[in-house]
């Protein structure tokens, strides 16, 4: 069987699995998990098999459903098209849902109606995978709708959890507003170009340029994709949904659902509308990205729920990705895609550790946790890896991609002479420090410090939950150390295919179609990016760390109670110093750890807290207003 069928089999397999689970899997838990695992593994393996043709041989796979090839220069069938960019996001997606499936086995064991859970899960996976593989813009909309539908149902799945239902409802309202914008954009594009195929749209739009009608469609679709990737001010349902969904689903949300929005954004601005040459579009995306990363991280500092904090960090990291992509340079694209990949890895890891804490203790409230490091040592180690990676501590992967993003933004600043981009660099660096701060808060509140009395019996989570965390931790470390290899084997093909609109159009519409419609390459690729070689010193760093850890582990001295004759008496010198008060189990809780900082910013935190009012009307106003602003901006500065 030829590999051109793999993408469609992966997507269809997941949807088929959803039906089979619903039919056969409602009684027996092994049957339904077996069916899920089979189809998830199938999709994962088939997508990984595409690496060779797409990444190494630089091939663009096109597939027409039912063999409906273009007739007289018009694409009338639904086409799937997989280039480097699609496959890059496809790989992130299959990795995420494969690990999430393994994690779900034990994590979800205490819930009821698991048949529905796996059905919705498979629908979500299939929709997101279909979204990145499709070459048809209406099919993209359908996949977005299935994705939203399944995501909402999964958000409200644990409906006994505080706030799950209202989170689902808010997600549904804001999400369907976004979908309506996207659909209106699709309709207007059809009015203007009479085709729904993205490759043909790219060719026709490049020929006629952006006029009032297509500009309007552009603005609507940017807003629609903004809702799906949860950029500020469309981010409010994300914070609620990530918090209340089961953690295996939170991981899927932050690892693939918002990545799908980012993918749509890149595909639209770079390939379909080919608008990245315009400095006003760059400004729009960078502005949204910068606001997103700042608002996300400051809101995260104010949270006192583990998962809600992670949710705001997801929003913040998407801001990094959007900023970097919005620069419109090769360096920016490399940094943005790399950060998208790293975000999938480390945020997935962090959500899984949050899930492990929830599984073991039954709560994610930072004020009620503490001292889990001694009870859950492995989870703590994985969490520390994830926290170091997201804060950009070398040698983990977050450092490598942030390092590129700072360079990209500052290069943009000095090459255009626009000081605004220099402030983007400053904000990006500050956001990184604040990210570190809020993870210090979580570390202190959850894993270190004194253990509350209620949690003294906590046990480490089972192996099948630790395995995905271990894999993600290793990937975080590998991505940071071997990042030259990631650059040349994974990111280069993806970035190349973003700029290669000619190839994208020709693969679908027949060769020569692109040049006939004046499609050009984005810009000439730089001969070589000035890439820094970290391998040597990072290796050394690792060697030093290993030695240090070994020394620290082996030289452990005897401690704890001392036996004197018949009875054991606790040795006072091993007790923690409390200044003479009797205060065992007293813990500096984490939710308000940075009061010194918050006091100086209290005006900002009050306003930001009030704006996240929790009222669905307010959130809808934000969404509509932001869409109107984007439309206005596009109409004034671009058309």
């Amino acid at each position: 069987m030829s590999y051109i069928h793999y993408p469609v089999i992966s997507v269809m397999g997941l949807f088929l699995g959803a039906f089979l689970v619903e039919i056969f899997g409602s009684k027996n838990k092994k049957v339904r998990f077996g069916i899920t695992l089979v189809f998830v593994t199938l999709a994962t393996v088939l997508t990984y098999l595409l690496i060779k043709p797409v990444f190494f041989d630089q091939e663009i796979i096109s597939y027409w459903m039912g063999g409906w090839k273009p007739e007289a220069g018009y694409a009338i069938g639904i086409g799937y098209e997989i280039d480097g960019l699609s496959l890059f996001f496809g790989l992130l997606i299959v990795t995420t849902f494969f690990l999430s499936t393994i994690y779900s086995w034990r994590y979800m064991e205490k819930d009821h109606h698991l048949g529905h859970y796996y059905t919705l899960f498979l629908m979500l996976c299939g929709a997101v995978l279909g979204l990145v593989f499709t070459g048809d813009i209406f099919n993209l909309f359908i996949m977005i709708e299935i994705m939203t539908f399944a995501a909402v149902a999964l958000t409200a799945f644990r409906n006994n959890r505080e706030g799950a239902l209202e989170a689902g409802f808010k997600y549904l309202v804001i999400g369907s507003l976004g979908s309506s914008f996207t659909l209106a954009g699709v309709a207007i594009l059809y009015l203007s170009c009479h085709t729904l195929n993205m490759a043909q749209l790219a060719a026709l739009l490049s020929e006629k340029g952006l006029d009032g009608l297509t500009g309007f469609a552009f603005a609507l679709m940017i807003a629609g994709m903004g809702v799906k990737s949860f950029i500020v001010p469309f981010h409010t349902p994300a914070a609620d949904a990530y918090t209340t969904a089961p953690t295996s689903i939170s991981m899927v949300f932050s690892g693939m659902v918002n990545k799908a929005g980012v993918y749509g954004m890149i595909r639209l601005v770079y390939v379909v509308f080919r608008a990245m040459g315009l400095s006003s579009v760059q400004l729009l995306l960078v502005l949204f990205g910068t606001v997103t990363m700042f608002v996300g991280v400051t809101m995260a500092l104010a949270q006192h729920d583990f998962k809600r904090l992670l949710a705001f960090h997801s929003i913040s990291q998407i801001g990094y990705v959007l900023t970097s992509i919005g620069l419109g340079t090769y360096f920016g694209l490399f940094g943005g895609l790399f950060h998208a990949m790293n975000h999938t890895l480390f945020k997935g890891l962090l959500f899984l550790t949050a899930g492990a804490v929830l599984y073991a203790t039954g709560t994610t409230d930072l004020d009620r946790l503490g001292g889990l490091a001694k009870r859950m040592p492995r989870t703590t180690a994985y969490f520390l890896v994830g926290a170091a990676a997201i804060s950009g501590i070398p040698p983990f992967n977050g450092f490598a991609s942030k390092w590129m993003i700072y360079q990209a933004t500052y290069e943009k600043a000095v090459s255009t002479g626009n000081i605004a981009f220099a402030f983007v660099t400053v904000i990006a660096l500050l956001v990184s420090v604040m990210t570190l701060a809020s993870f210090i808060k979580v570390t202190q509140a959850v894993f270190f410090g004194q253990c509350p009395l209620a949690l003294t019996q906590t046990k480490e989570v089972p192996f099948s939950m630790r395995l995905p965390m271990a894999i993600l931790s290793l990937l975080c470390l590998a991505g940071g150390i071997g990042y030259n290899y990631v650059m040349s084997y994974v990111l280069s093909p993806a970035v190349h295919s973003v700029s290669n609109a000619v190839g994208y159009v020709d693969a679908m519409m027949g060769s020569g179609y692109a040049t006939a419609h004046k499609v050009t390459m984005l810009q000439s690729e730089p001969a070589a990016l000035s890439v820094w070689n970290p391998v040597m010193w990072l290796l050394l760093f690792v060697v030093v760390l290993t030695a240090v850890t070994l020394v620290a582990l082996t030289s452990e001295k005897r401690r704890g109670p001392v036996t004197t004759g018949q009875e054991q008496i606790p040795d006072g010198k091993y007790a923690t110093f409390f200044g003479g008060e009797k205060s065992e189990h007293s813990h500096v809780a984490g939710s308000d750890l940075f009061w010194g900082f918050k006091k100086d910013w209290k005006g900002y935190f009050r306003v930001a807290g009030n704006l996240h009012s929790g009222n669905v009307n307010d959130y809808a106003v934000w969404t509509v207003a932001a869409t109107a602003l984007i439309t206005l901006f596009v109409m004034i500065f671009i058309v």
């Binding site: 706030g163 239902l165 209202e166 309202v173 309506s180 699709v186 059809y190 009015l191 009307n617």
Partner: protein
Amino acid sequence: MILFNYITAAILLVLGMYIICTQKNLIKIVLGMGIVDYGVNLLIVSIGYNDGGSAPIYSFPDLINGAVHHFVDPIPQALTLTSIVIGACVDAMALSLVIMIFRKYHSINSDDVRRLRG
């Protein structure tokens, strides 16, 4: 004539968004979502409309000969059908969520359904 369709579609869209933004009753918000959907559907179906055109049921030879060239575009109609189905599902799900919310919060006023905030 077709201009009326576009104007109506725009009015429906704005009306729907207005309802979502201002009405506190969750069921009214769901209805607002429905109205936005209808606006978009009307927009799509109007795009395919061709004044005085006939139904698009022809064979390829007819088309190529140029025997017919004035017919209604079938694709937007297919899109509208799909979109209607999706809209119905979304509304059903939203209403079921509202029922569950009412059971849990004993209210369907959006000011009361805001435990997640800040």
